[in-house]
């Protein structure tokens, strides 16, 4: 998601209320991890973290469950979220389809599925408190717990933290 937003908000002046909270890019680059002890982290403590060019992160846990959220970078670029909506549990989502939507600063933003999956549980906390996605996008502000299609981890286009970092550097 958010390819546009990320780019445009940086190219043009970010809106005033966002500017002071905007961490320098270098700081954000150092932190492509999940918040320790957050729900997607402590679920098994054994997971592989991947990223997408749509600024999503995916934590693949060893038991075949994955958590999806948006990156810190995306959350900063979005601005204050006022509404978060994710497909309901049980829904099957196809790669490249929107499975959720975040509204911020008068814009609806689609969230794109990086691979096929079934929604196991959408995050009710972030739906109830949208600001959670700004505060802890890489933690309890995750979007959904999902059951990815077999081999999802090998999907073309999934990036390691280093690759995502490189992508951010080159894209801007």
């Amino acid at each position: 998601m958010l390819r546009t937003l990320a780019r445009s908000s940086l190219r043009f002046a970010p809106r005033a209320t966002m500017a002071p909270t905007m961490a320098p890019l270098t700081m954000m680059r150092l932190n492509h991890t999940l918040i320790k002890g957050s729900i997607p982290d402590k679920y098994s403590n054994k997971y592989t973290l991947k990223f997408t060019e749509d600024h999503d992160w995916v934590a693949f846990h060893e038991d075949g469950v994955a958590f999806i959220g948006i990156t810190k970078y995306a959350a900063e670029a979005l601005g204050d979220a006022t509404f978060v909506e994710v497909e309901e549990a049980g829904n099957e989502i196809e790669k490249d389809d929107a499975f959720g939507n975040v509204e911020s600063v008068k814009a609806t933003n689609d969230i794109i599925a990086p691979f096929d999956f079934e929604v196991v549980e959408s995050n009710f906390d972030v739906a109830d408190t949208p600001s959670l996605i700004n505060k802890e996008p890489n933690g309890n502000g995750y979007l959904a717990k999902v059951k990815p299609i077999e081999g999802a981890e090998e999907t073309e286009g999934l990036l390691t933290a280093e690759e995502y970092d490189e992508f951010l550097k080159n894209a801007h």
Binding site: M1, L2, R3, T4, L5, R7, S8, S9, R11, F12, A13, R15, A16, T17, E53, D54, T82, F83, E85, D96, A98, N101, E103, S104, V105, K106, A107, T108, N109, D110, I112, A127, D128, P130
Partner: protein, 406 residues
């Protein structure tokens, strides 16, 4: 028949008639879908005033705008034509809420119902606006590459300011505020914006208050204490003081067209100036798909059913009663009444918990076993059954809303 004009000559002002060379009418058999799918910049001006049809037309044009995905193009041509669109329409009176808003919280539904003014949920984010024939709606559709919140607002602001003192020009000077809203120098808002951002394309649409009936606007959105307190998720509107810019409608439309053409138009070597294909859309040009979208927008399921869950507390001192409603997706799921009135709401509570009831005054009232309470509830939720009663708005009675709309 879709009027297609390859110059800006269609607009009456001679000074923006760049050249006759490009003037050319297409065969009338071209469908809207064909035109909407063509690459390159295009302008669509709707001659329709039905808000449902216009919003559906806007979505249709957006859906059919070819997307460019630079990633899938091995060697993207930086000079390739952008597929940007400008859509302009003017709606008959209606209230338009953002994608994730609560209509009961944002608008005075009883007043809307009594005046038969439609409440419409759009697909973009943002807050609630009132449309009427005194404001012009514009929509800029772009690829993600070209999208920014600021760009097109700035263009409109600068273009309008450039018109200045010309006959029919604006009577205020405009600037952008920190939210990229267009405001006058005293910070009164003249244009609201909303955005829809997808993977490869996005749009920015907005309203421009030219000569809107601002007192009606205020009355349609004003909710007195008698309508209760609503709390819940969803995007709340940021209330702003508003004003009209007083500009003549056609001049404004022409100004925006000129600005868009200057931004995205194609330059010719003979220096005739940039031009963009302009299409005037009549109702008879609309494909069935647009009508279907318009019908979907009218359904309870979309307009009210997409409301994030909320609670609604209403009180009546005369009847000495307080009730709280719990509503999810526009369906009443539970109700709590004060201890004196449990009996009257027992039936409603059981129906709400077991199967749910659409949050429509008349439907809710039917399950309340006290006629006076039922009438009051129906009236408070959406004015059901109050047609014959006088409408009191914003504390003044001297002039009825119907007269003001006239």
């Amino acid at each position: 028949m879709i009027r297609r004009i390859q110059t800006l000559r269609t607009i009456k002002r001679p000074q923006i008639c760049y050249t006759n060379r490009h003037q050319h009418r297409y065969n009338s058999t071209v469908t809207l879908e064909t035109i909407a799918s063509q690459p390159g910049p295009q302008i669509f001006v709707s001659a329709i005033s039905d808000p449902f049809l216009n919003l559906a037309l806007e979505e249709f044009l957006y859906d059919h705008m070819p997307a460019r995905d630079p990633k899938s193009e091995p060697n993207p041509d930086p000079d390739a034509l952008s597929n940007n669109r400008l859509v302009i329409y003017v709606n008959s009176p209606c209230v338009v809420i953002g994608r994730n808003q609560n209509p009961w919280r944002e608008a005075n539904i009883p007043v809307l119902e009594s005046l038969r003014i439609p409440m419409i949920r759009r697909k973009s984010g943002g807050g609630t606006v009132v449309h009427d024939l005194g404001n012009v709606n514009y929509c800029f559709m772009t690829s993600n590459e070209d999208f920014s919140r600021e760009k097109h607002s700035k263009m409109i602001m600068e273009s309008v300011n450039a018109v200045g003192d010309a006959p029919g020009g604006p009577n205020v000077e405009l600037k952008l505020n920190s939210r990229f809203d267009i405001v006058d120098i005293s910070d009164n808002k003249v244009s609201g914006s909303a955005y829809k951002i997808q993977r490869h394309k996005a749009y920015h649409h907005g309203t421009m208050l030219l000569n809107s009936k601002l007192d009606v606007l205020k009355a349609l959105l004003h909710r007195g204490e008698n309508l209760g307190v609503i709390e819940g998720n969803g995007t709340a509107s940021v209330k702003s003081p508003v004003t009209n810019i007083g500009m003549e409608k056609n001049l404004f439309i022409e100004t925006v067209i000129k600005g868009f053409s200057g931004m995205y138009g194609v330059d010719f070597e003979d220096e005739s100036g940039p031009f963009v294909q302009l299409n005037v859309i009549q109702q008879s040009d609309l494909p069935e798909k647009v009508y279907n979208t318009a019908e979907e927008m009218k359904t309870y399921h979309w307009a009210y059913g997409q409301t994030p869950k909320f609670t609604h507390v209403i009180k009546n001192d005369d009847l000495d009663v307080e009730v709280e409603f719990f509503v999810e997706k526009g369906i009443l799921k539970d109700v709590k009444a004060d201890s004196e009135h449990l009996q009257q709401f027992k039936y409603l509570k059981s129906v709400a918990q077991n199967e749910g009831v659409q949050y429509i005054g008349g439907k809710i009232a039917a399950f309340v076993t006290d006629e006076r309470l039922g009438d009051w509830i129906a009236k408070t939720i959406d004015g059901s059954g109050t047609e014959k009663e006088e409408i009191v708005l914003v504390g003044k009675k001297e002039k009825s809303l119907k007269d003001m709309l006239g």
